[in-house]
């Protein structure tokens, strides 16, 4: 579906590449988390995926078409929710009437349902909303466009605590087998229990690229107050009141939720192991 092959990119006037020889294949279906530290090139990768940037070398293709060409047939099936959203000061109804005709699979009923999830009135004026509310309205529109590929850059930035929970619920409810959502974030806690797949990146490329199911099969993530449990752990970190520990999952050991923060740290401290995943 989406293929990045040996992609390199540097900003104009800079010789230092932001993305260097990056390769990745995204298959249809599932929610991908694109995680990385600040400046690791997450947003740049999303821009390359959506065709907003042209790779200096390598190629980014969506269903066989190079994305930088930004053909209508590609753009109608790819939607990008940027970190900073620019919405016109018009009523939501008008915004939908003006923008929905570009998206063949747009569904107004679905949009109303998503707005309901976000506790937003369909009769709102976009110019009179807070930043968080604007983001929610835009995410609702983006999901209702029913594009095969939905890219989101730091979507939980600017959302309040209930808003983040609403966001998780809405995303999960909007998932279908033929839809792929790629969420780039550094706020990993906001996406726990939402992701199907995790890709952790740094400036040199992919550090970890694995499905949540594969990670759960191999590793267990625990919080413990017993310092003895640190011994023999793959990774541990003192946290208020105890330790976060990652271990290999032995036979008969119960599956645990993936602690993305611990996985993130582990992937950098033990790249060989994470590659094996």
């Amino acid at each position: 579906m989406l293929n990045l092959e040996h992609v390199s990119y540097s900003y104009p006037g800079s010789f230092k590449p932001v993305v260097s020889d990056f390769s990745m294949e995204i298959r249809p279906g599932g929610i991908y988390g694109l995680l990385g530290a600040n400046g690791s090139g997450k947003s740049t990768l999303l821009y390359l995926m959506s065709g907003l940037l042209r790779p200096a070398s390598g190629s980014v293709t969506f269903n066989g078409q190079e994305t930088f060409k930004r053909l209508p047939s590609t753009l109608t099936d790819v939607f990008l929710v940027p970190e900073e959203i620019d919405l016109p000061a018009v009523k939501l109804d008008k915004y939908v009437a003006l923008n929905a005709p570009f998206y063949e699979n747009f569904n107004r009923d679905e949009m109303n349902r998503y707005l309901e999830h976000f506790r937003l009135d369909p009769d709102i004026h976009l110019g009179r909303l807070s930043m968080g509310q604007r983001k929610k309205a835009f995410v609702a529109f983006a999901l209702a466009c029913n594009t095969s590929l939905l890219l989101m850059d730091e979507p939980t930035n600017g959302l309040d605590i209930p808003g983040k929970a609403e966001f998780r619920r809405t995303i999960v409810s909007a998932m279908r087998d033929d839809r792929t959502i790629i969420i780039s974030t550094h706020q990993v806690r906001d996406l726990e229990r939402v992701l199907d797949h995790v890709a952790i990146i740094d400036k040199n490329g992919v550090v970890l690229n694995a499905s949540i199911a594969a990670i759960q099969e191999r590793l267990v993530f625990r919080f413990t107050t017993d310092p003895e449990e640190i011994n023999g752990a793959l990774w541990s970190m003192p946290v208020p009141g105890g330790y976060n520990v990652v271990r290999f999952r032995g036979e008969g050991v119960e599956e645990t939720d993936v602690n993305l923060e611990s996985l993130f740290e582990l992937s950098f401290s033990n790249p060989q192991l994470t590659n094996a995943l």
């Binding site: 821009y47 940037l53 939607f79 620019d86 003006l98």
Partner: protein
């Protein structure tokens, strides 16, 4: 969805642009109309007889023409203002329409609709002022004066040709300046008018310095020595006018090349 050029998508883009930027566009038109009305009133107070060359009014009427020209260049420099900031650029670039459709829609909005609006504003300002001062509208006076002058000039009965040549020259110059500022807008969507103006000014000041002296001298000699009796003056005039249109086309083509290769982050757009 078809990837080839679609006029229905162009229409959707124009409709979307007008509706989403209604307030900003109305304010811009309002300001242009206000400036024109102000000058039209000032002109009408100073002089009521356009045909009087010696009066101050004639010069002031020329100012009104200059304002029309200035407004057209401003309109041209706003062509790609929708890509002035990064969030706006993302929205504009991600709309499912081809680059050519987006380019054509912006040209139609700022170059064609812009020109019509500016000319209409000038007519309206003039008509309104004329009602206030009970003079016949300036444009009516202007055209009657112009046709009267044309009637008097009998250069081998080429009066009508001169009329069309002047009209073509004025229109060509306006299109050319609009195309220049449109190209400027594609290079610097932010503060485009000021930047393009500075570049044009710098070119006019510094370009002559780069022309080799001997080449300039040879050109002057050639003009001085040429016997223009043998030159087809009509061909020369129309050729010159045609060159203006060809040059304008070239500027639009360069603007298209620049727009086509637009990326979210690139030189001159580091926002």
């Amino acid at each position: 969805m078809i990837d080839k050029f679609s006029w229905s998508r162009v229409w959707f883009l124009i409709r979307r642009y007008f509706n989403e930027n209604f307030r900003q566009l109305s304010m811009t038109i309002g300001v242009i109309f206000g400036i024109m009305l102000f000058f039209a009133i000032t002109i009408n107070k100073s002089c009521s007889d356009f045909a009087d060359f010696s009066s101050v009014g004639f010069g002031l009427w020329l100012i009104l023409f200059a304002i029309i020209g200035f407004s057209l260049t401003v309109s041209g420099s706003l062509t790609f203002s929708s890509t002035a900031t990064k969030p706006k650029r993302i929205v504009a670039m991600m709309v499912p329409a081809s680059k050519a459709e987006k380019f054509v829609s912006l040209l139609l909005i700022y170059n064609c609709f812009g020109t019509l609006t500016i000319v209409l504003c000038a007519f309206l300002a003039d008509a309104l002022t004329s009602l206030m001062f009970l003079h016949s509208p300036f444009f009516v006076q202007f055209f009657s004066f112009f046709s009267e002058v044309m009637g008097k000039i009998k250069v081998e009965d080429y009066g009508l040709e001169i009329f069309f040549a002047i009209i073509s020259l004025v229109c060509g110059s306006l299109i050319c300046s609009m195309a220049t500022y449109t190209l400027g807008s594609s290079l610097w969507p932010k503060k485009s008018f000021l930047k393009t103006f500075c570049v044009m000014f710098a070119i006019q000041v510094f370009l002559p310095l780069f022309i080799p002296t001997d080449l300039a001298m040879r050109l002057i000699h050639w003009i001085a020595e040429t016997n223009f009796d043998n030159v087809n003056i009509h061909l020369l005039a129309w050729g010159g006018i045609a060159l203006i249109y060809i040059f304008s086309g070239l500027l639009y083509w360069l603007a298209w090349r620049r727009y086509r290769s637009t990326q979210l982050i690139q030189k001159f757009m580091m926002d």
